[in-house]
């Protein structure tokens, strides 16, 4: 494919540029709390998009229900802190582990078949998880939701104090750190043996299994990693927003937006999805919502359709050199 820009930039360089931009952004926005909160959700979304892309872009398995893992993570962390009095940081990891459990429940039956079975099963799974959260009222308070979820505790590092309760900026930087940690893990996985196996499964399952790649196992591992990262971000979301109800935690938003972000940013790249998510959130906030207040998400559907038909490599795909 001919690139519209003469230069080809390596994946690594784009990742570094993104890192610099993300770190500098609060200064540009002069720490305006409203804009910061928009970009915190953009970073959460960016991280989930990275996780989604590991499964779809690298391993070739589309998921329409990542909201399931996001919601599991959010609720698990909130409940572990509030009912079992865990340390919130530990609870976030625990939430990730529960996300992995969810991945096993859905992945093992659904990955036995090839084709669209997984994509749709997980969509149903997300619906069922939401339903359970609504109805297990003794644990989750049902549709009332959980209020006053504690923030992450203070961290004192040298002379600096990081307060997650008052400061948006601190939350912003933690979200950024999480996003790049997820990016780095995915980068490392992609360039390891298991990453090669995932890529082979994406390319051609039959050939992959022919040369001895354990197709089923590879898919399940990709899903587990993806679910862990998504649940982790769900947990972060819970402690950042302090309030959860089934509609917000299992919102279809968390299933749809990672897809839009990934495709828009470039499904074949590793860093693209996070950039896509950041750009899309910006567009949505400052452009789409001005046009249609209630139905602004129709742009996402349109964008998905247009990107997949006319620019399947996405925004960045054309000028990122695969490395």
């Amino acid at each position: 494919m001919k690139s519209f820009l003469p230069l080809q930039v390596s994946e690594k360089k784009i990742a570094i540029i993104t890192l610099v931009v993300v770190l500098a952004l609060p200064f540009v926005l002069s720490f305006n709390p409203y804009y910061l909160s928009i970009f915190i959700s953009a970073l959460i979304l960016g991280s989930v998009s990275l996780a989604w892309n590991l499964l779809a872009g690298v391993c070739g398995q589309v998921s329409f229900g990542h909201a399931a893992f996001f919601g599991i993570g959010a609720y698990a962390s909130a409940l572990l802190v509030m009912k079992a009095t865990w340390n919130p940081f530990l609870a976030m990891v625990g939430a990730g582990v529960l996300g992995v459990l969810g991945a096993l429940i859905i992945g093992i039956p659904a990955f036995r078949l090839r084709g669209p079975y997984f994509a749709l099963s997980i969509l149903g799974f997300a619906e069922v998880m939401k339903l359970l959260t609504l109805n297990l009222t003794r644990l989750t308070e049902g549709s009332k939701g959980i209020f006053n979820i504690p923030s992450l505790p203070l961290i004192k590092l040298g002379g600096m104090t990081f307060d997650f309760y008052i400061s948006r900026t601190t939350n912003y930087y933690l979200a950024a750190v999480l996003m790049f940690a997820i990016y780095l893990s995915i980068y490392l996985i992609r360039h390891s043996n298991i990453g090669l196996a995932m890529s082979a499964v994406h390319g051609d399952e039959e050939t992959a299994s022919g040369i001895g790649v354990p197709v089923f196992k590879t898919k399940v591992i990709a899903l587990m990693v993806s679910a862990f990262c998504t649940a982790l971000m769900g947990a972060f979301y819970a402690h950042y927003i302090h309030f959860l109800n089934p509609d917000s935690a299992f919102d279809g938003f968390w299933s749809v937006m990672p897809i839009v972000g990934s495709l828009f940013g470039g499904i074949g790249t590793l860093i693209g999805p996070s950039i896509g998510a950041l750009v899309i959130t910006g567009l949505d906030e400052f452009l789409f919502k001005r046009f249609f207040e209630t139905g602004h998400k129709l742009f996402f559907g349109l964008l998905l359709a247009v990107v997949i038909v006319w620019a399947p490599v996405g925004l960045l795909g054309k000028w990122v050199r695969k490395r």
């Binding site: 039956p109 994509a119 749709l120 099963s121 069922v128 249609f292 998400k297 129709l298 559907g301």
Partner: protein, 276 residues
């Protein structure tokens, strides 16, 4: 039990398109909801009898799916399955948010008095509307079945499903067949919409829910088994009714999904699975 028959109607379009084209139409539920809205507006604005509006709504839904195929799907028909899945998902999001923008999030129910009139059969009350829906659903399944078996176009569709290359060699225009099959899928979805609106309601959020349910039912029946849909629909309907009676109405959806996971594990080819 009758409700199971309705389920069969709601998922007929999806099962057909999946069986023939190996495409899961994620926008299936949205086409169905579209026709429901059209029947609703025909009734509200001009007092159309919902049964008369049925063909109109179905044709409009078929038109919508014709357009989606022509504008988008046709261009990526030969690329990996993953792409068509995301594409139709995108179309679905577009449509459901369009409904939200145009007609707000209110739920719309098509209320017709004579439809709700109860009939009594040996102590069981059944509304007239339910019987009509069941009949239409049954006729739809049989008509589709015999269309595929006995007409020339139907045979062409089946051959294309089995082997595209051979079909091309036999002089079948496979592009046209695909377009036709996808439009028929929309038409079948369009038949369900007004009936869904009459028996319960339509809203912008209904579509995706229907798509999931339709997929569960398709897997349950076995991909490609059109007649199995009725039986599978009944099993699902009875199971859900029992869940409501013995457990709780809030766990109704859980039954179908659990059954679905079990079927995937135990018998992935479905209860009545065989090739068309």
């Amino acid at each position: 039990m009758l409700e199971g028959g309705n389920y069969a109607l709601y998922c007929l379009g999806l099962a057909f398109v999946f069986g023939i084209m190996r495409i899961i139409n994620m926008a299936h539920g949205e086409f169905l909801v579209l026709s429901g809205y059209i029947a609703y507006w025909l009734l509200v604005k001009w007092g159309f009898n919902p049964l008369l509006s049925l063909p109109i709504a179905a044709v409009i839904a078929a038109g919508a799916s014709f357009l989606s195929y022509r504008v988008f799907l046709q261009r990526i028909r030969t690329t990996p399955e993953l792409n068509t899945l995301i594409l139709t998902f995108g179309i679905g999001i577009f449509l459901s948010n369009l409904y939200l923008q145009l007609w707000s999030a209110d739920i719309r129910s098509i209320g017709v008095d004579w439809m709700e009139k109860p009939l009594m059969f040996s102590g069981i009350y059944i509304s007239f509307g339910e019987i009509i829906t069941f009949t239409i659903s049954f006729i739809g399944v049989l008509a589709l079945h015999s269309f595929l078996r006995h007409t020339k176009i139907g045979k062409a569709i089946r051959i294309t499903a089995i082997d595209r290359d051979a079909a091309t060699l036999a002089g079948i225009n496979v592009e046209r067949v695909d377009l036709l099959a996808f439009s028929i899928g929309g038409l079948l979805a369009g038949l369900g919409g007004p009936l869904l609106g009459m028996l319960s309601f339509v809203s912008p959020g209904t579509g995706l829910h229907i798509t999931v349910k339709a997929f569960i039912l398709t897997v349950l029946a076995g991909v490609g088994s059109i007649r199995g849909l009725i039986a599978a629909g009944m099993i699902l309907g009875i199971g859900e009714a029992m869940t409501v009676t013995f457990v709780s109405s809030s766990y109704r959806e859980l039954f179908g999904f659990t059954l679905f996971l079990v079927i995937l594990l135990v018998r992935p080819s479905g209860l009545f699975g065989k090739r068309i």
